[in-house]
């Protein structure tokens, strides 16, 4: 029989005050298999631990039970002590006779009896324990970044510059995300593309970054340190290595469709480059709009004019499989569609724009080459109304949350408008101005003081077209006056939504979503960049509305977190995992269904259950489900529990 040693701690009077520790030790000394039992005033002290170490060595103990405070406090202490004496750490168990006994009872004899039962049941547990070593798995020291916006770009660069290979996946033909559509950025008003494109180029040139644009993550399996990813690479039908950007193809392409980069303010051809600075710098034939491609009898005009034969109609979608150790999700945001805004005309008035459209109007590279003109008649608008919180902070009809960046970009818009149209007038309807951030409040003040922007506190109840004007009805809640403005243009600060497709991706990655559909973090305060799935991290607006500096900061944070995994040769994992007795298993698969971690599968060979020890967290739900006791968690087997029950009942 295994030789067990018992060590009863007084914890000063914390335990000894209500539990007769001497009696506990004396009783346990008579318990089958117990060859040593002593008590000491502070077991966790160095001399206390010394007693344990000595006893293990002198009495040749196989098992140790320390009756003391909650295992949450000193289990590690005593397991380490046992290890120092040459025992496997799992040969040490804690009997919690303080929190669960001495501190909650007054009647000394009764408390003592209970302490004895608790300790006996710990003896039974430790007797059934196996010696276990932590499980370790090698780490695949590469990372996957999903989303090529500024957050994804930043994360990818940080990881690559730390020396790890990165696969950056972007579903659009070019990286850059929404930032590449912006004209200027608040509060510095520096040109968005000017600060973004160098980073985009760095990505494209970085030896450690494998850029996969026009690609989508299809399937993710595996676990922290060892994910397997399937990526769908959609065909562009243009070989970027050959394409010399001569742009002849677009001139001959007969098909014109709305240009999504310009948010429909202009059109593009079926073969196109998203924007001049696109990375990769190459063209794409969008096969949804080049009907002939689908029928494989393309009109061939683009191919005819392409001197370098970059066009290949036979390009097929391919599935690329990659292995990575960590994943950063930076899928960004979309604007809440204008069509949802009944009160603002369902987006059917051409001169009612959303924020991004207005950015394009301001942008030097935009459809109007930087002139602010009304889409309807290309006249310069003299009165422009900006409406904040359009779709935000409206739990009844739209989004409950604040989109956070609108206050700032609306101020920016108004300013930019004044800089373009000096004699124009800008009005801003707002609920509150939220300008927390470095230089932000000052920025808003500038809009009011230097550019004479009129801030009206209140909501716009209705807008409608009348004789080429857009009539805006609103209320000024400060003066209480009804306000009517005959505007030439209205700009809606639309709420931010998780980017379309983010939800399906979250499913594939087993990531949780918050109530608004953004990706949920592991802990709102203490683990803001970690997802609920270990090994996966969040960056940018996919997690919540943020502005560029925040997105960048979080991206770097996520990269740093990923490095904590990638920098290790191996990952360690608790070995107290489920184990299958093959001869009892009938392969019913009930354990497979209940496992919260998909850690159990049925083997092809004989259909019996098999545990992936690295995925298993040892919760034991499988044990209770199995009708045959064919699956047990190591060191808390049904056998152990059965003995513990008897001991707990004083038997």
């Amino acid at each position: 029989m295994k030789r067990t040693g018992i060590f009863v701690c007084h914890c000063g009077i914390n335990i000894a005050g209500t539990v007769d520790v001497k009696k506990v030790a004396a009783d346990l000394a008579k318990y089958p298999g117990v060859v040593h039992a002593e008590d000491y005033v502070y077991m966790c002290s160095d001399p206390g631990q010394g007693l344990i170490v000595r006893a293990i060595q002198e009495k040749k103990l196989d098992n140790v039970v320390v009756a003391c405070c909650s295992p949450n406090l000193h289990e590690t202490t005593f397991r380490n002590a046992s290890q120092r004496a040459g025992l496997n750490s799992f040969r040490c168990e804690i009997a919690n006779i303080r929190e669960q006994c001495s501190w909650v009872h007054k009647d000394k004899p009764k408390a003592t009896q209970k302490a004895i039962k608790i300790t006996k049941s710990a003896v039974e547990k430790v007797r059934g324990n196996e010696s276990l070593e932590p499980l370790s798995v090698p780490v695949t020291r590469r990372a996957l970044v999903i989303g090529g916006g500024i957050a994804g770009i930043q994360a990818a660069l940080d990881l690559a510059n730390t020396g790890f290979e990165v696969i950056l996946v972007e579903k659009k033909p070019s990286i850059g995300g929404h930032m590449s559509q912006l004209s200027e950025t608040f509060p510095t008003l520096d040109c968005s593309q000017c600060i973004l494109t160098p980073k985009m180029v760095e990505v494209s040139k970085h030896p450690k970054i494998k850029l996969m644009t026009y690609s989508e993550v299809q399937e993710v399996s595996g676990f922290v340190g060892n994910f397997k990813v399937k990526i769908l690479k959609k065909p562009t039908y243009v070989d970027p290595t050959k394409c010399n950007l001569c742009d002849e193809c677009t001139k001959v392409c007969p098909i014109v469709v709305p240009n999504e980069f310009e948010l429909g303010l202009t059109g593009r051809r079926a073969i196109y480059i998203p924007f001049p600075q696109a990375i990769p710098a190459s063209y794409t034939i969008d096969d949804k709009n080049c009907p002939d491609l689908a029928t494989t009898i393309a009109c061939g005009k683009c191919a005819d004019v392409c001197k370098v034969q970059a066009i290949d109609y036979d390009m097929k979608p391919e599935i690329v499989e990659e292995e990575v150790g960590a994943i950063i999700v930076a899928t960004g945001y979309d604007l809440y569609d204008k069509e949802n805004m009944a009160e603002y005309g369902y987006g059917k008035y051409p001169d009612v724009l959303d924020g991004l459209q207005f950015e394009r109007l301001c942008s030097a590279s935009g459809p109007t080459r930087g002139k602010i003109l009304r889409p309807s008649d290309h006249k310069e608008p003299k009165e422009v109304v900006f409406i904040q919180c359009s779709g935000s902070r409206d739990p009844e009809n739209h989004c409950a949350y604040c989109s956070k960046i609108c206050c700032m970009y609306t101020a920016k818009h108004a300013m930019l408008y004044k800089h373009h149209v000096h004699d124009g007038q800008a009005y801003i309807f707002y609920i509150d101005i939220r300008s927390g951030g470095k230089g932000y409040e000052e920025f808003v003040q500038r809009a009011v003081e230097e550019d004479g922007v009129v801030y009206l506190r209140g909501k716009v109840s209705k807008i409608f077209e009348d004789k080429g004007k857009i009539i805006v009805w609103g209320a000024d809640t400060l003066t209480g006056k009804h306000i009517e403005i005959a505007a030439d243009m209205v700009v809606l600060a639309q709420a931010m939504r998780p980017s379309q497709g983010a939800q399906e991706l979250a499913k594939k990655l087993k990531l949780a979503l918050d109530k608004d559909g953004f990706l949920a973090e592991a802990h709102p305060k203490l683990r803001p960049v970690e997802s609920v799935t270990s090994g996966m991290f969040l960056a940018g607006a996919a997690h919540a509305p943020k502005d560029i500096p925040e997105a960048v900061a979080q991206a770097s944070g996520a990269a740093a977190k990923a490095v904590t995994i990638l920098s290790q040769e191996r990952l360690y994992h608790a070995p107290t995992v489920a184990k299958v007795s093959a001869n009892l298993c009938t392969g019913c698969g009930m354990c497979v269904l209940v496992c919260p971690y998909d850690a159990i599968s049925l083997k092809d060979k004989d259909g019996k259950a098999e545990v992936n020890e690295v995925l298993c967290e040892g919760c034991g739900t499988c044990t209770a489900t199995c009708l045959r006791s064919a699956i047990q968690v190591k060191n808390l087997s049904q056998n152990q529990v059965a003995e513990m029950i008897l001991a707990a009942l004083g038997g």
Binding site: N583, T586, G587, C588, M590, L593, V594, L627, R628
Partner: protein, 343 residues
Amino acid sequence: MAKIEELREEARRLLRDGKVKYIIGYGTGRDGWRAVPIFIRQPEEADRLIWNPTCVHNLSRFLADEKRRQAREKKPDRRPVGIVVKGCDSRAIVVLLQEKFIRRDDLVVLGVSCEKTGVIDEDKLTDKLKGKKPEKIEFGDQGEFIVAAGNEKIAVSAGELLAERCRECRANFPVIYDFLTGEKSPRPVERPFGSIERMEALSSEERWAFWKNELEKCIRCYACRSVCPMCYCDECVVDSISLAVTADTTAEEKAQKIKWVQKSPEISENFVYHLVRAIHLGGRCIDCGECERACPLEIPLRFLNKKLEKEAKELFGYEVGFDVSQPPLISCFRDDDPGDFIR
């Protein structure tokens, strides 16, 4: 009306064409009127098959034997097995498929419909005949039983002789089959759980007195477990009566064998045995009533094992043995499962 000739013809065909290795069906027992399980291999044996109100057995129980046999044989014949099933038996097959114990294509299911009636309770028949020895029992066209005894034929209304479980049956024709003889006309049952409700109506102490009196009789011959199609485990957890020990079973695994119940037929041990059985049948028992029929001491085990079928339905809206694709009862949950019993 189910026609035995149709069944025999199908059986003959399957055996002739070698589509099945053998067919598990009902034949006439030595006494000349009771059905017994038979296993036929030759086309000509098809004529031995019968279908009458004494076909009480749930033959799906024998699928476990087939599986064990295949495990032992060096070159097992992997052709499917033909099996004759009633509605209740077919629900057992559904559960066995749910639990991947058998593969659908290992079976050719020959369904027979009980239509308006079902099978008889032998005790009821004995009382009815007052000691006269029955010679033959058949289904009448009007859903009655035709009993031949002592050179006379009498028609007895089904109600008089029907087994209790048939009165509460919710599958009077097979829910899964490859061949079917007889009508697929559902038979409405007012109170599918009437027997359980009557038991529930008793006070806690009355129920205890009832079960104590019944389970005291148990001699642990394990007929209930042995006859049950759901008790296909190689080793039962309550006791290692059928120790699944193989050459590669480790010493630890042997040491891990827990004696949840003592071998002694003490009242406490009998209770734990039957409780474990009942809970393990939760969401699996399809009320074929075989445990009760097989029990030599006539312990009303149906009352115990059917209870959780009722609870599964009432608490979780879970129907046992109708849908192969649904997960087993305890390997799924609904967010709004009742929790009112929890503090």
